[in-house]
Amino acid sequence: MQRRQLLKSTAAFSAASVLGAPAIAQAPKKITFLTWNLVHLEAPLKGWIAGFIKSRPGVEVEWVDKKGPELPAYYQTQLAASTPPDVIDIQGALGLEYAAQGALLDLTPRLGAEAAVKARYEPAYLSNWVFEDKNYMVPYYVSKTLLFWNKTRFKEAGIAQPPASFDDILAAADKIKGAEKTGFLTLNFDWLYWPLMQMNGVDLLTPDLKKATFNTPKAAEVITKLAEATKSGAINPISWTGRWVEPNDAFATGNVGMLHAHAPAFFWIKGKGPWINGDTLGAAQMPGNWATPNSHGLGISKGSKNPDLAWDFVKYLTDVEVATAFAKIASVLTGSKEVDKAQLARFQKDDPLAFQVLSTQLEHTDKMCGNWRLGNDSRVKDGFWPEFQSAMLGRKDAKTALGDAERRVSRELRRA
């Protein structure tokens, strides 16, 4: 019957295509490069890839870009199909999770063998991706949080200097708040708010990362103070409900006294806030010089079929020429010492305010917090953050929130 013939031929065709067609990323000398939300840099990236291929005949580089929330889903399915992208651009904590899973290639031997390459990178940022004494990624572009302060609002409130302590922050915020104005705003994703806790001596976990240590009277005091400040309007509630656009936009309106965010926020708010210049905006470290890093690194998948080629590509992307061009176009710091030095020098000449902002990124790199080397970072965060958020928004009192958070975090730690 015709139908049977059709079925037979379909089966044959499927079999043939499985045997005949090369699966993606199995062709020799081809690597896939997965980036995190860099679609606006399509033209330059393609240019750099062309540069890489030029000197390597027979090599292909496939570039795939995914938006932040979609990237993990994409990566996981590729991993499950044994066709993981060879080179990946991943954001800090997620990189550690993948490393803990065993998805990433240990780069320590390669870095050990090529001391010149290892010396390129700023050690504090390089060590971001050390998990169980093995180095899994190298910095691609780095940042950490700082305090932006609206000089006009400060002058109005009669405050001359940016805050030097936690209580200073609360006092200044309280003075600045008013009808349409709020005193303090922070970004909150990926533990960015943690300096507020750290500067009060509250740490999330013990150094061995086995136990939760944040359920203390001091922490309860800090949380209560933050919650009260939020309720009174000294702290803008968007701090606890917004993500990127909302908080930065709010600060850009000029009605907020302080913004705690990482350096890339500067370029965003500058675009939205015509009032911003050296006289109206200041860049400072948070009290105690504490900051949460939010960096992107390059790693190689363990399942890569061309690890050497992938490593070549990683080196290529972070060498002076390409990294400098990248830093220029994206206005970022790369975590490569030489490139960043030149970048800062350029900004010092062209844009003193940006220079002020970016300088904070390379200072006090020993005071980075909020970046615990956890293989299940996102789960621990999911145990902590909703409770913290509830407390900030007045839905739970500090003690209950901390108790619940401790329970949930401990559960995750137990399961790890």
Partner: protein
């Protein structure tokens, strides 16, 4: 297609019904209006109070969208995938629906099996679906994106019901005339099942055109992306800045609405002819 209202004497007046339906229609249409107005307005869309009528309307947002992203390419991908899904599903669903009109041993089990398949959510099948599609070698192709939709249970049952409504005498007569089973389906049953066909077309169109998660997983190269992916991509590039996002939304919805409006006449006609059959 307005018919003069023929209400039997003594029955309640029509105007309350009109009033309710006008309010309902208004509520249903507001979201469309609000988005279109935002896409046309020239001012800062976040200023409060928002204007009811677009201030300084212009079409530049639409032009921006067309040039900023490969809209035409995304459109083409969506069209091809959907066309494949509709063609394939008509074939498979008609066949399966017809098979289910026969009384064969185990029919009850097959029906139960199909019904329970409906309860399996797609989000949980992603990884196996991806692996299977990869094994078949059709990842990142139009066929691969269309594949899961080539048969749907609701449509099978719609065809089954439609075929069962055809008088047996017609079918028996055709068989006596020596027509093969497939011919019976195409010559006798299908022409009498226009509304079932329209239902299949519309539903498959909706599911395929709007699919987001599956194309997200199954497509690697940017040139193969379909419209929903393009929309989500656009969200990341132009996060919340201008009415351009809403212009994109409108552009994305227009083909879908246009096709639906064209096909729905047949759809509605099928329904109203059912009324006169009494």
């Amino acid at each position: 297609m307005a018919r003069p209202s023929r209400r039997p004497p003594g029955s309640p007046p029509h105007w309350p019904r009109h009033a309710i339906m006008i309010v309902v229609s208004f509520l249903m249409l507001i979201p469309f209006y609000w988005v279109v107005k935002t896409s046309l307005t020239g001012e800062n869309i976040y200023a409060y109070p928002p204007r009811i009528v677009p201030v300084d309307p212009h079409l530049f947002n639409y032009v921006d969208v067309w040039y900023m992203i490969p809209f035409a390419r995304y459109l083409l991908n969506s069209v091809i995938v959907t066309a494949m899904a509709i063609a394939g599903s008509l074939l498979f669903n008609v066949a399966a629906g017809y098979a289910l009109t026969k009384h064969f041993p185990g029919r009850r089990w097959v029906v139960m099996l199909l019904l329970s398949c409906m309860l399996i959510p797609f989000q949980a099948t992603i990884i196996p679906a991806y692996l299977i599609t990869s094994w078949l070698g059709v990842l990142d192709t139009w066929l691969g994106v269309a594949l899961p939709l080539l048969s749907t249970i609701i449509c099978i049952f719609v065809f089954k019901a439609s075929f069962e409504a055809v008088p047996r005498s017609l079918i028996d007569a055709a068989r006596v005339d020596g027509l093969s089973e497939w011919r019976i389906v195409t010559r006798i049953l299908l022409p009498l099942s226009k509304s079932a066909i329209a239902t299949n077309v519309i539903l498959t169109f909706i599911w395929s055109w709007n699919a987001f998660l599956w194309p997200l997983i199954a497509i690697r190269t940017p040139e193969m992306q379909t419209l929903p992916l393009g929309l989500a991509r656009f969200l990341s590039v132009m996060e919340d800045t201008t009415g351009a996002l809403y212009a994109f939304v409108v552009l994305v919805l227009i083909p879908g609405l246009a096709i639906f409006l064209m096909a729905q006449k047949e759809f509605i006609r099928g329904l109203t002819s059912g009324a006169t059959k009494g």
